[in-house]
Symmetry: C2
Subunit: 298 residues, 2 copies
């Protein structure tokens, strides 16, 4: 793209972003919004491309939200590169980046939090204390600042998507939520900003996540509906790979995120696995497509 042909607007201040959103709404423009923590990969860009189609004005937020990290987690070392992100956002036609700092988002005496209760109790909610409270809170704030008509989330963080949908429904937020399929590397690894943490050998082992999902899909398509039996094979397969420690692997209802015994079309298998020091997640909704290349997994 020739220099100067596209210029993404950068908003650092809550008030400036909100004023822009108010103006756009008065003009009858449709605002699409993709909240992110930055360090973009193709997965983020796919969300933005969808947002570009669905809105007149596309806002992306870049904010590594401290309240969704537990004290023991990787907040400080989470990868960041604003200039690279801005260039990538421009490539896919983003109109504005909202890029606030912590002082603007959580000023002194900050004390309000949004709790989504049921759907956050298991899976990552059980492993990551306060994580979804932080996600729900920051998304509420971002929605009130950006005032989107439509917001786009990835299905890779499936429980996050369910949490946001539940919150929007319960709190009567007038926002449409679009969930987009997980974007994968050519070999099947789900794209994640955290993949940069992986050594070459860990990167190879990490393929067991997506391949185990492909295995679950094949078992289901071959007629297996016993969740316990599918989980058994999936866990054995993951455990047969070096550097892996399973945090959880579960099959749950897509609406309530409650564990199920019987696998069906409204259920999904989700997993969190530590590969070396890096915690990775992946999931598959039974009955949907899953583009994992052929592999001769055991």
């Amino acid at each position: 793209m020739p220099e100067g042909e596209w210029l993404v607007e950068i908003f650092n201040s809550v008030k400036d972003m909100q004023n822009k959103a108010n103006l756009l709404r008065l003009q009858g423009k449709k605002i699409a919004f993709v909240p992110t923590m930055g360090y973009f990969h193709e997965g983020h860009l796919d969300l933005m491309r969808e947002g570009r189609k669905r809105g007149d004005y596309l806002v992306v937020s870049i904010y590594v939200n401290p309240t969704q990290f537990a004290p023991t987690e990787d907040l400080d070392k989470y990868p960041r590169n604003f200039d690279r992100d801005r260039a990538m956002a421009e490539q896919v036609g983003v109109d504005a980046i909202f890029f606030p700092d912590n002082a603007g988002m959580y000023p002194p005496h900050y004390q309000t939090y949004v709790d989504v209760e049921g759907v956050t109790q298991t899976l990552c909610g059980a492993s990551r204390a306060g994580h979804f409270r932080g996600v729900a809170t920051v998304c509420t704030k971002l929605f009130n600042i950006v005032k989107p008509h439509v917001t786009i989330f990835g299905k890779k963080d499936f429980q996050q998507l369910v949490t946001i949908k539940t919150m929007i429904r319960d709190l009567n937020m007038d926002i449409e939520v679009v969930g987009m399929p997980t974007t994968r590397e050519p070999d099947g690894l789900a794209m994640s900003s955290r993949n940069v943490y992986l050594s070459e050998e860990e990167r190879q082992s990490a393929l067991c996540l997506s391949r185990s999902l492909a295995m679950a899909k094949r078992l289901f398509e071959a007629g297996e509906t016993d969740a316990g039996k599918i989980l058994d094979q999936v866990c054995k397969y993951i455990q047969s790979h070096a550097y892996t420690v399973i945090d959880y692997v579960k099959i749950s209802d897509v609406d309530t995120v409650e564990e199920v015994q019987t696998v069906g079309r409204n259920t999904f298998i989700a997993m969190a696995v530590k590969v070396g020091k890096t915690r990775l997640i992946d999931n598959y909704v039974f009955g949907e497509d899953l583009n994992i290349p052929y592999s001769d997994e055991r």
Copy 2:
């Protein structure tokens, strides 16, 4: 007012109210909003009159919100009279009443709550478990449904006002909050829908609340700044009246609602007192006006 000259619009459904709000905003109209639990008295009408001045379109909600009542409280017997409320709202020029039912506000699988932490820990927050969580949650919902530019609350529920202001600031809700002085009966009793619970003798005893505030005001104006000394006299005065049981009497900072030792212009005295079976509250911000008629209290 001649019949048919004014007709308040009634919205029962969340979606209809939200669509109306969207239309008004697209037309550039300013929406003013007074949330209530109904059973109107002059205090409510004063809030509406202020809203009438501040907005192009004035919405009042009537909803006895179950999530702000503790299990032991008076949810079921809370007074209700929709037809009377509608007529009174029409008299002061309300444009619309939002009058939802519980199934519309808290459908099955409802699970999202808003917690304002610091300012809700003491006073009524300490006595009424979950009360402010319910208030913050329902107000978030109502704000998302009615989409007001400005909302009007009474200072009689002072801690509620601080909670709402804190929540609006923290969650970046783009809403102006106006706090209105407490409306009082000619003898000084703060107006409250719960006053109908009082027997004639209790009604007379209940005057000790407002009169004790006048006492605190006089002590402060005479130079007393020791919170303990003022509280001492106030409590003794209240306890000298029949049927009274003090829940709390405290002097706190107007922003943080933390107790203070020294009385000054950013502090307020607040009390909750059971008079018979009826729990009444009242408060006074030091340095402000307080129109309590002369009385020869001991």
